[in-house]
């Protein structure tokens, strides 16, 4: 597909071989143990899992992280050892050394294959050692990278208290206080009462998706400006502060990879899902807020100006990327939202690779992508689910793409062939949500272009001999 082609009427979906590089979903422990401060993540797997985590977490591993491997040995595989006793021994040790408020068991490929019944063992052990045990099967057989968070949050959704339970507890002045003070950013009671009146009278709303605390604050305040009150976040800073979720609550996702969590909240907790584009980029943020407003029957105000102001601030970056093309190889499920934002920035996008596409959960985002392509007068991207990296590299050569967003396995080899790349994993760790962080996304996207701009007269863009070409 080139720019000259006629614009297709709808998005084109394809599915390839699934031979692509991505992180194992157990990597979610790296950011979730930091987010949930009183948690401990126990990954029940092999040396392979441990080696991956140790290397992928980089220097974090030296900071005594609240995670560990329960490394399975031959005796565990052949069922010579008793799973329950073994897990009990390790969890007791964790309790003694770290005293967490929750232990999250991450099931891996091996526990799947040997059919270790983690869900069955957990409740027994939980009552024996008196620490909640949450089981998430975040393995490489079923999921890719960020979907790991989805499995953990879906499991946590079951642990969110019901309103009735909290009323009882708040009489004991425990959880209630924690929640009130969290939601009100530590303000005093009188101020809180005064503040309540600033909110519209709408049905309770809970957000889901793990974001760094500053971003949580930013998005919460953004909604507050519209008079919308966020009753809680899944996950909260501490496991003991998981939000109340009652039947009939509204829930909204902040990330595109949370489809299981969404399903769990709808089916098991009887919540109503607000299907909106995701708050990535100023366009996405505005659409996200507008959708929430419309569902809660609130008239949004000042959003257009707010968005325009953010765009105006981005102009120096937009100049660099306007008219350039971007290719997503696909590995973290943020691809559609990022592509939509970059198309709005003036880029073209021949292909969006993505590990897994939930057309229902991402429905609003996909529509928004279509609309954006029409508005900007550019061809619709081809969305390639379960991509094949080898074929993609051939297509990248064909399209002569200006920027490839890809994993670290391909970045250096592509750079050596004169192709600009941005390492995709950075988008999952950087702050990219909300109006405030739009600049950060573009900072990442333009970095290779700016860097290579300053090197461009040196004649060093192709650093492999021709025959070495794949």
């Amino acid at each position: 597909m080139t720019l000259a082609d006629a614009q297709p009427q709808a998005l084109d979906f394809e599915c390839e071989t699934g031979n692509y590089h991505t992180f194992c979903p157990i990597s979610c422990v790296a950011w979730l143990y930091q987010k949930i401060e009183d948690s401990f993540f126990l990954v029940i797997g092999t040396k392979t899992c441990g080696y991956f985590l140790q290397n992928a977490m980089g220097v974090m591993i030296f900071a005594e992280p609240r995670y560990a491997m329960a490394e399975l040995e031959e005796g565990d595989i052949s069922a010579k050892l008793n799973d329950y006793e073994e897990l009990k021994r390790l969890c007791m040790q964790i309790k003694r050394d770290r005293n967490p408020s929750v232990i999250v068991w991450i099931g891996t490929c091996t526990t799947e294959i040997i059919k270790m019944d983690l869900e069955g063992l957990a409740p027994r052990l939980e009552s024996e050692i008196d620490i909640p045990i949450v089981v998430a099967r975040a393995n490489g057989l079923d999921y890719a990278f960020t979907q790991g968070e989805d499995t953990v949050l879906a499991a946590m959704a079951h642990r969110c208290p019901k309103g009735s339970a909290v009323v009882e507890e708040s009489e004991k002045q425990e959880r209630g206080n924690a929640i009130t003070s969290l939601l009100n950013f530590g303000k005093k009671k009188e101020e809180v009462v005064a503040e309540e009146s600033e909110y519209h009278d709408h049905a309770p709303l809970v957000m889901f998706g793990s974001l760094p605390d500053p971003v949580v604050t930013q998005l919460t305040l953004e909604l507050k400006k519209q008079g919308i009150k966020v009753n809680g976040w899944l996950p909260a800073k501490r496991f003991t502060e998981l939000p109340v979720i009652d039947e009939g609550y509204y829930v909204a996702g902040v990330n595109p990879f949370l489809s299981r969590t969404a399903t769990t909240l709808m089916r098991r907790r009887k919540c109503k899902l607000i299907g909106a584009p995701f708050p990535i980029g100023p366009d996405g943020t505005r659409a996200w807020i507008e959708k929430i407003c419309s569902v809660l029957d609130v008239e949004p105000k000042g959003l257009e100006e707010r968005e325009a102001k953010i765009w105006a601030n981005l102009e120096d970056y937009l100049e660099i990327i306007r008219g350039k093309s971007v290719f997503f190889m696909g590995d973290n499920l943020l691809e559609v939202s990022l592509a939509r934002f970059l198309i709005r920035c003036g880029m073209t996008c021949p292909e969006i690779g993505i590990p897994y596409m939930d057309k229902r959960y991402q429905g609003a985002e996909l529509k928004f992508l279509e609309q954006t392509c029409i508005d900007m007068g550019v061809p619709m991207p081809k969305i390639v689910e379960k991509p094949d990296n080898y074929n993609q590299v051939q297509r990248i050569y064909e399209h002569d793409v200006d920027l490839v967003i890809t994993g670290m396995a391909h970045a250096n080899p592509l750079e050596a062939r004169g192709i600009n790349t941005k390492w995709s994993v950075e988008f999952t760790f950087a702050q990219i949500h909300g109006f405030t962080n739009a600049r950060d996304i573009l900072e990442l996207v333009t970095r290779p272009l700016r860097r290579n701009n300053s090197l461009k007269d040196l004649g060093w863009d192709k650093l492999v001999k021709e025959e070495a070409k794949v």
Binding site: G18, N19, H21, T22, C24, P25, I26, I44, T46, K47, T48, G50, Y51, F52, Q54, N55, A56, G58, I61, F62, Y67, A68, M69, A70, E71, L72, E73, E74, D76, I77, L81, L87, R89, L90, Q93, I94, C109, T110, I113, I114, N139, G140, L141, D142, A144, F145, Y390, V393, G407, M408, A409, H410, A411, N412, P413, A416, L463, V464, A468, V470
Partner: protein, 508 residues
Amino acid sequence: MKLAYWMYAGPAHIGTLRVASSFKNVHGIMHAPLGDDYFNVMRSMLERERNFTPVTASVVDRHVLARGSQEKVVDNITRKDEEENPDLIVLTPTCTSSILQEDLENFVERASLSTQGDVLLADVNHYRVNELQAADRTLDQIVQFYIQKARKNGDLLEEKTAKPSVNIIGVSTLGFHNQHDCTELKRLMADLGIEVNEVIPEGASVHNLKRLPQAWFNLIPYREIGHMSAHYLEKEFGMPFVDITPMGVVETARCIRKIQEVLNAQGADVNYEEYIENQTLHVSQAAWFSRSIDCQNLTGKKAVVYGDNTHAAAMTKILAREMGIHVVWAGTYCKYDQEWFRKEVSEYCDEVLINEDHGAIGDAIARVEPSAIFGTQMERHVGKRLNIPCGVIAAPIHIQDFPIGYKPFLGYEGTNQVADLVYNSFTLGMEDHLLEIFGGHDTKEVITKGISADSDLGWSADGQAELNKIPGFVRGKVKRNTEKFARERNITEITAEVLYAAKEAVGA
């Protein structure tokens, strides 16, 4: 089940892939779930590799669990064969395939019926061997395969080269400073008038393996990778091998003398004594360094050493024998080969530590309070916390351990590099000394983050003030020694007097 936070040696498939992807035009296909191709990231990042890492996965997913992976594996092998025409495809099992117990051998046979290149199944079991053992085995397996193939085809080259020649065996990708070591070894061989017949596996073509028997001998620079191949070649062709790691001045000389012996036994009539003397006295600076007053200041200082067998053993000998440093303990994570390690280092250190648990290693460091640590990245971080400098001498390593500049650990240039490393690690010998004499200039707040140091004692203002005058790099140690002194005497508050009393009593 074992609670583990950190591991020193990786899983078996990493070893196989390191060897396979070191060869030219050999492709590794992992039988693994999505996400296990992390090897590619490491190679691309750590080695800043310009080419695509020749490793792909034949993905094991739900579908495969239900129906078996035969079709998929066979397809993936034949597809790779067409796309990239590799000489050899190595099917690499992982922890997952170890428990699925599919007949991978059979898939390989089926696939090789329709491939141009050869196909092998790496004979490694996740639960039995680690990265290093697997690398050794895979190399041996490939060597044997091509020797036998050549024999069958009648094109095995057994006649020795006219001039003395060597195969260098065991240089591989993601090996600690292997690329630089390889260059240094080639230089050394050139100096000695020895032709390099083949270097394997790094950069080698499998077609050349049939030429291995032409060399006069094999050089195995690293303890961990290459021994199996060397033994095989010795058994098949009577090829002698030299497995003395030429790291450090004394060991390099020993290695060269052994080479001399091996060559002369085959009628070469070489004498390297003059070369050794000239290199030792004039080319390598290490011998001179050990005489210089810098090194004098290191005399009797305490160090601990930890790493793989090769580097920890060599380093221990260098420190103790060539620099007069007191190695309190030397340790290795190569448990499976511990006898060798004990034998190598026993006479050069007070204690030998065989342990794969980084917590135990950290505690052993905290207990000993050495002036410097020589270990892996993990020990470097322990050192950071305890305020003890650390020189990194072995994997696991980070990107900064893949320097662009020339930094071999082996050969005569290697001795210079090691001397620098040691000297810089000991907080700049002379400077340390002068700081101690003049009371130091470091007034940073003292932060004790001792791993096993529990501080339940109070420090008076004047005690704290005195403590702050002590140079930063020894302050933690002084603090802990003083507290130990106080605790033994039931002193609850540490004043300046107590501090000095402790110093006199225990030499804190």
